[in-house]
């Protein structure tokens, strides 16, 4: 049986760089740990009992831990003939490249974390996830959960505010599940005891008592199960966000929670200002805040006080009421960062590699203004040719893992 991975998924609650760096470092260590375990298990099975010493000797390495990410990612990438490949799928340039990208990501977050952003975090998590998925590791799901969490933080305007009610409810549900389990176990034990007693001595008076106890236990279990079901439904209702169905411009209903994050939509800055944190939202969540502000200022040119819900729904105060503006991450029509492209591509296509972009059009080698800056900002991996295309709506998309992912929208 596999050992339990000691690196437990850490989900950031905000975009604070220490939280992102912690999450990324734990993810890389979790992946490296599982690969190191695989090396150990498979190579010993194949008779290489002292495989680590052998690998160190083969490649003139200093003594190293078999779980060390720099060892786990670097050696397979660097040495095509390494013993380690006996514990991996057949060597391909693509798989070797995935180790290389993982190593780079690990180094960036280990040594240059201060320069990182939410966007480079998502790219990094995709790179590590890509390697983990290719190797069919148990921890591959960390990558998806981390990216989902970042999307949620982005929608929430930079920080997830814990909801006590939900936490309490979840705790209650867990407690009740334990109760149900205990009662069902008790019921089974009582039934078994009743059957045994019945088979051995039907005349014993305790049979009736045992049966009654079993029936009572079953009834209690059923009641608890019903309550559990009702509470799960209640929780689902709590989680449903009525704002998902709001029309832009409609008055925000007074009975729907308007959100506790207070911002100021600033026409002067084309941004959202957070008076509590004394900062601009774009400095927390990146260009999406400026895109949102730009879009909302077309609806309300003078700006004003905005409330933001945990799910990123925004409403602006107008007189004594609030008007719905939309969701922070879906304000730019047709563009949702990190999501697959939904619209048709224009003819232009490019290749991006190591800070340079090249047009693939023989008759038009023009690079659109702002494209290179977007690609550099997006933190795409270097030393790899990444196909880039533009949609008719000027959305910049990169081909990642076979799919076309939206990066940003070219400036008008």
């Amino acid at each position: 049986m596999n050992k339990e991975n000691p690196w437990v998924l850490f989900l950031p609650k905000s975009l604070a760089i220490w939280e992102l760096a912690t999450a990324m470092n734990i993810f890389t260590k979790a992946v490296a740990w599982e690969i190191g375990e695989r090396f150990d298990r498979v190579l010993i099975e194949k008779g290489h009992v002292d495989w680590l010493t052998q690998v160190q000797k083969d490649h003139s390495l200093a003594p190293v831990s078999m779980h060390d990410p720099s060892f786990v990612f670097e050696v397979p990438r660097k040495y095509e003939d390494s013993l380690l490949w006996q514990a991996l799928p057949p060597h391909t340039h693509e798989l070797s490249s995935k180790f290389w990208r993982a190593k780079n990501t690990r180094n960036i977050w280990q040594h240059e974390d201060i320069k990182q952003t939410m966007d480079t975090f998502v790219t990094g998590a995709s790179i590590i996830q890509d390697l983990a998925s290719e190797l069919d590791l148990d921890v591959a799901h960390y990558g998806r959960e981390l990216k989902d969490q970042i999307a949620q933080i982005r929608r929430a305007g930079g920080q997830i505010v814990p909801v006590d009610q939900s936490t309490e409810l979840r705790s209650l549900l867990e407690h009740k599940e334990e109760e149900v389990d205990a009662l069902q176990k008790k019921l089974e034990e009582t039934r078994l005891a009743a059957e045994q007693l019945g088979n051995q001595a039907e005349s014993l008076a305790s049979i009736e008592t045992a049966k009654e106890a079993a029936e009572v236990a079953a009834q209690e279990a059923q009641m608890l199960a019903d309550r559990l079901h009702a509470e799960l439904q209640h929780e689902r209702l709590l989680k449903a966000d009525p704002a998902d169905s709001f029309e832009i411009g409609q008055i925000w209903p007074s009975d729907v929670n308007i959100g506790s994050r207070l911002l100021y939509l600033s026409a002067h800055m084309n941004d959202l200002y957070d008076a509590e944190r004394l900062s601009l939202l774009s400095n927390e969540v990146g260009p999406i805040a400026e895109l949102a502000a730009h879009h909302w200022l077309q609806l309300v040119p003078e700006g004003g006080h905005v409330n933001l819900t945990e799910n990123g729904h925004a409403a602006i105060k107008q007189g004594n009421s609030y008007r719905y503006l939309g969701r922070l991450d879906e304000v730019v029509h047709g563009f949702v960062k990190d999501k697959p492209v939904q619209t048709e591509f224009a003819d232009q296509s490019f290749i991006y590699n190591d800070g340079e972009v090249v047009s693939l059009q023989e008759d038009d080698e023009t690079i659109p203004d702002g494209l290179l800056a977007i690609l550099v900002d997006s933190g795409l991996a270097t030393n790899t040719d990444i196909p880039i295309r533009l949609t008719h709506d000027s959305i910049v998309a990169a081909q990642i893992d076979g799919g076309w992912i939206q990066l940003a929208k070219l400036p008008a």
Binding site: M269, D271, Y273, A275, L278, S279, L280, N283, P287, E290
Partner: protein, 181 residues
């Protein structure tokens, strides 16, 4: 630089940067140029500030909106502008003056010294200005052969647009914050 702290006040900027804008000159005529917007913020204070440079001349820094800040900051609106002059090789503020009477309804500015500004800030002003690209701080008479003996500051073309905001905070905003109104 997205944020810098000047004493108790933070300057906020974003990627908006320089953008085409118009302003009204002293003669009341509209002039075209470039503007750089920022916010000056502190607990209970948020001011929209703009640095405008005419296409073919200098410009200046002024408060354009006091948002929800205390009403006393209204006195800074459209008044006590900090002028910026273009030089052949950069920019200068040849008259760095400090607000005179912050409790007056129409405050004016008067001569300030380098030492006064350091004292008001609680640390050397140059520690903030040098990294932003300021190359010289002195007296206008000596630096520019001017008739006035005001404090003057010079920076190169590569200097940060935040320089005049820093000076504005120390000479206008902090005195207003310290006033008892």
């Amino acid at each position: 630089v997205a944020e810098i702290l000047v004493g108790p006040v933070k300057i906020l900027t974003n990627k908006q940067g320089w953008h085409p804008a118009t302003d009204i000159d002293f003669g009341g005529d509209e002039v075209e140029g470039q503007a750089f917007n920022a916010m000056l913020v502190a607990p209970g204070l948020a001011l929209n500030i703009q640095y405008f440079l005419a296409s073919d001349a200098g410009g200046g820094v002024k408060i354009v909106d006091i948002l929800d800040s205390p009403l006393k900051y209204k006195k800074l609106l459209g008044r006590v502008r900090q002028g910026v002059q273009r030089l052949p090789d950069g920019f200068a503020m040849k008259q760095v003056r400090s607000i005179k009477d912050s409790s007056s309804d129409k405050p004016t500015v008067t001569k300030a010294t380098h030492e006064e500004l350091d004292q008001r800030l609680g640390s050397p002003l140059l520690n903030i200005l040098r990294p932003l690209g300021v190359t010289e701080v002195g007296v206008a008479t000596e630096m520019f052969n001017s008739k006035n003996s005001d404090l003057a500051i010079r920076w190169s073309e590569e200097g940060s647009p935040l320089i005049p905001f820093v000076t504005f905070i120390v000479t206008r905003v902090i005195p207003m914050m310290e006033s008892s109104e």
